[in-house]
Symmetry: C2
Subunit: 327 residues, 2 copies
Amino acid sequence: MNNRILQMLEQQSEGYVSGEMLSQELQISRTAVWKHIKKLESEGYLIEASRRLGYKLIGRPSKLTLPELTQQLQQKGAQLVQSVKLFDSIDSTQNIAQRLAEDGAPEGTLVIAEQQTSGRGRMGRKWVSPSGKGIYMSYILRPGIPLQFAPQLTLLTAVALCRALRSVAAPLDIGIKWPNDLLIGGKKISGILLESTAEDERLRYVVTGIGISVNLTREDYPPELHDIATSLAIELGRTLDRAEIIASFFAQFQQLYAVYLKEGFAPIKMLWEALSVSLHKPRKLLVAGGEITATPVSLNDQGALMVQSEDGTIIPIFSAEQMLQQG
Amino acid sequence: MNNRILQMLEQQSEGYVSGEMLSQELQISRTAVWKHIKKLESEGYLIEASRRLGYKLIGRPSKLTLPELTQQLQQKGAQLVQSVKLFDSIDSTQNIAQRLAEDGAPEGTLVIAEQQTSGRGRMGRKWVSPSGKGIYMSYILRPGIPLQFAPQLTLLTAVALCRALRSVAAPLDIGIKWPNDLLIGGKKISGILLESTAEDERLRYVVTGIGISVNLTREDYPPELHDIATSLAIELGRTLDRAEIIASFFAQFQQLYAVYLKEGFAPIKMLWEALSVSLHKPRKLLVAGGEITATPVSLNDQGALMVQSEDGTIIPIFSAEQMLQQG
């Protein structure tokens, strides 16, 4: 009901919607309309009420809200997400989602937090999650693919996120650094973490954590990170709507996931290579024999990065930790 | 101390060891010797005590004991196993080992139970675990290999177990059915379950569960299983020493694991193919297009089973569930 009232207020964006019309349209009493309006206000919506003219939406909350998210997800056709759990502040969306997955929660279950107190990234590193400025979320997949192909999912997720952000934050030139970091001008704006649980060759579930620096300001970054990390708002010069970004991501992901399950990795591989900033630039890498300099040239069918050394041989790189810092 | 007393009694297998000698050799009082003997008796050892002659070991317990296990592991050089947790009865060794692994327990931590109330195999199937007659154990690995190669570990584990059992239960002809069931005359004698937890392409830990039907009798099997499953004791005509089997397995596993980490999958692949009963016999398989009849011919480098269909094309099979029942 709150969703429908919100829709009707938004459609009438320049003027008022009368209480009488809301009451008739939704077949509820005027008092019930007023109660729902109060509920929306408590969620952070700014609604002006005029006895004569009715209700007018004058401000959206800066907080994520379930009605807003659900509406955006519906509008963008992201049916993959059937269950959303939204928290003000928790330790880590990955922890919550892992527990839900172990207890049998279905594919598409999504956990989002305004703030994380123990957000985590790769290799146990902390993912700093200031309240209200970023997207910190985890979702559950139950992909019927063998374990060996989980790295392909990592790459698919990066493609989905890159396409969603390039669309919502156009005209920013966002690219993928192998395997799944998104960069603008060499600075990182998001992280993706896939935690897989398998039984023999069968993936039982995959919990994907995504952190996106949406509306962080320059002041949110310590000086040592200024050349390494940035946010969409810093680069675009304006704040962005987080619910829109989340819904765009899931719409893209759902589409690419369906293609992947039907046709395999080849189409995803082409999209990844087109969006990659890692290819064709020589760099230092760590392999079994030590350090080498080699040029990434493509992905292989399993999702490993194929690199060509100075003598022409091509070998696979499996882990982001093999990419050594330049300079 | 119990271990040393046990060793000295065993060395004197035909006769008695005097209390005086034990006391002097171990530098403890006669009373302390007597207390240790009582402790060994409470663990199930049968020890005859003669005032004049001393102590004589006349029977080993049918229960697994920590001193026995530790001694066997030491004797067989299985240093991989540094921590053993032995239970009379628990829900599942996999559950315990998973919790320990998540809490940071090191590689080689081993959990064994005399009996499991909720033993599990593949696909959530129950692993029936009658008290004292089988081996039900789980151990933790932290392999520094990418996720894609976890299926190779499954095959390595099967090779290690097959070699250990062929040695301890000689001359039984034990072979491997792809990927990791051990069979005697077409009947299953063991199950192996690898549960992997990964972060992106990095395996965080692998918990391997092994169930071996050691001393089950014909009466332990319902009639519908008589053609499908058997035990080492049924096939050999005598009971076997479970501690010896466990230690033999870890000695084999440790050796093969070291070879694998150093030289890759090729040597393991050769051993697996030599022990396999799956190769070169046509069978029905389930692939994306439906049912086909094809002949397994080899493993590929990732550990998938390569099968050749009637028209000569060779394709990989990733999952044991693709092998359909014959007849």
